[in-house]
């Protein structure tokens, strides 16, 4: 075994420097830094994630557009939660809370499935400030006759 090992590393950036002698044989990866007896009982942001858990990384820079959430219109139906492919809709106690921008890839599914009128989630350019976006929110769309 080497000096330090992947298991001891706390900082994501340190991993990149590991030499062959510091690797875990068989390239096994661990989800957590300590045992989690019943993971379904532990909300995601309270878990002892290992730096080797992709949760600790981010893909937000893949986006060109981001979904912006408008609490005022939301009915907490959870469609966005269930269909988000990337675990990026933060939902607590049956309430939609917001978007996890570190993990959101900007696919736009949440916006498509949002049933309110106007929608409670809309795509905006990545660089636009969310408060600006909220100011630009469209009005209720009249149903076409």
């Amino acid at each position: 075994m080497g000096k330090k090992s992947l298991k001891d590393i706390k900082d994501v950036n340190e991993i990149k420097e590991l030499g062959w002698d510091e690797l875990i044989p068989g390239a096994a990866l661990f989800s957590f830094t300590e045992p989690v007896e019943d993971v379904v009982e532990v909300p995601m942001d309270e878990r002892p994630y290992a730096p080797t858990n992709s949760h600790e990384w981010q893909v937000g820079d893949w986006r060109v557009e981001k979904p912006v959430y408008n609490r005022d219109l939301c009915i907490d139906c959870q469609f966005c939660w269930v269909f988000c492919p990337d675990m990026s809709i933060l939902s607590r106690d049956k309430k939609m809370i917001g978007v996890i921008y570190e993990h959101c890839k900007g696919c736009g599914i949440c916006v498509e499935v949002c049933p309110t009128n106007p929608k409670s989630l809309l795509m905006f350019p990545e660089h636009l400030d969310n408060n600006e976006a909220l100011k630009m929110w469209p009005k209720k769309e009249e149903k076409e006759k």
């Binding site: 007896e37 993971v39 080797t52 992709s54 492919p85 990337d86 570190e102 696919c107 736009g108």
Partner: protein
């Protein structure tokens, strides 16, 4: 232990065991399916995955996107991997040598669920032998095929799940070709014919139907096969935000009927009854054309010289839908 999920709000209380910042394409259905399957239970889950998009994008060193134990061996052996993990679990349980945390779960009536995920390539084609063997041997595990009808991970080559007329990189549409020449293989029936206690077809867009079927599958003893429609934005070439809509079009046109086949078995495993239930009946069965039109992989079918393939599609879908209804009615 069956998790109570009355409605979507209740379902949203689930704490995911599949993590973000994986490398799947934006809008990928595979992820939605994996989430729905894992969240269908609060019991511990152990996962085996075949080579394919899900595998290469969720365990790229030094990152894992899994909060459950997970193994990938190869492209063609997800079924035997899951089956043997299941066997190893049974042996350790029998010998009283399970790790303490696992033993505790078992004592609470929360036995680990062992699930294999594989693409259609890893299922219909190269993994078929291993799948068939594992089902014949009757191991206790669930096999979920993420069916995007193409070898997506390697750049969109045809598989035996690719439907007729689809343009793929090895069955491209061209001046003299309308694309894929073969009809899609009937995997659900093939797996049901293995005598598996529970076999079902699902779509991630109908989350409740999917979750219910997965829960049923977790409750039976023996191998369970779930064929999951997995719209692939990259290879079906629809916009990422349209994933759910395209899935719905598939379901509502009956291109992707939602049904289950139950082989009822006595205590000796002898099947005394087989029944097929259609679990979703579209209010308005929409024309197949609408489903095809939503996906550029079928664009060339709308040229006059290829229209007959659309007609053939409609005929095939209608025939299958009728067949399913007849079976359901007859209770076989």
């Amino acid at each position: 232990m069956v998790k109570k999920i009355k409605n979507l709000k209740e379902f949203s209380l689930s704490n995911d065991r599949f993590e973000g910042a994986n490398l799947m394409c934006p809008g990928c259905s595979h992820n939605i399916i994996v989430r729905e399957v894992l969240n269908a239970t609060n019991d511990p889950v152990i996962v085996a995955t075949a080579t394919g998009c899900l595998e290469v994008c969720t365990a790229v060193y030094p990152k894992t996107s899994w909060d459950v134990s997970w193994i990938h061996i190869g492209f063609e052996n997800a079924a035997v991997a899951a089956a043997t993990v299941s066997a190893a679990y049974e042996v350790m349980k029998r010998k009283g040598k399970l790790p303490p945390a696992t033993q505790k779960m078992v004592d609470e009536g929360r036995e680990p669920k062992i699930v294999a995920f594989a693409g259609d390539g890893g299922t219909y084609d190269i993994g078929f032998q291993s799948l068939s063997g594992a089902f014949e041997r009757g191991h206790n595990f669930m096999y979920v095929c993420l069916d995007n009808e193409v070898y997506a991970n390697t750049g969109g080559q045809r598989s035996s799940s690719t439907p007729i007329g689809a343009s793929t990189t090895t069955s491209p549409a061209g001046k003299v070709s309308y694309g894929e020449k073969m009809m899609k293989k009937s995997m659900v029936e093939i797996m049901a014919d293995h005598g598996a206690p529970y076999v079902a077809q699902v779509s991630p867009s109908k989350w409740k139907d999917l979750v219910k079927k997965v829960q049923k599958g977790f409750e039976v003893n023996g191998p369970v096969y779930i064929n999951a429609q997995s719209a692939c934005t990259t290879e079906w070439k629809h916009a990422p935000e349209d994933t759910i809509e395209v899935s719905d079009l598939g379901v509502d046109s009956c291109v992707w009927p939602l049904y289950e086949i139950i082989n009822e078995r006595d205590e000796h495993g002898i099947i005394y009854n087989t029944k097929l239930n259609i679990t979703y009946r579209p209010k308005n069965k929409i024309p197949v054309e609408e489903y095809l039109a939503a996906q550029p992989r079928f664009r060339h079918l709308f040229k006059p010289e290829n229209r007959h393939i659309i007609d053939l599609w409609q005929k095939a879908v209608d025939t299958k839908w009728e067949y399913l209804q007849k079976r359901e009615e007859a209770g076989v």
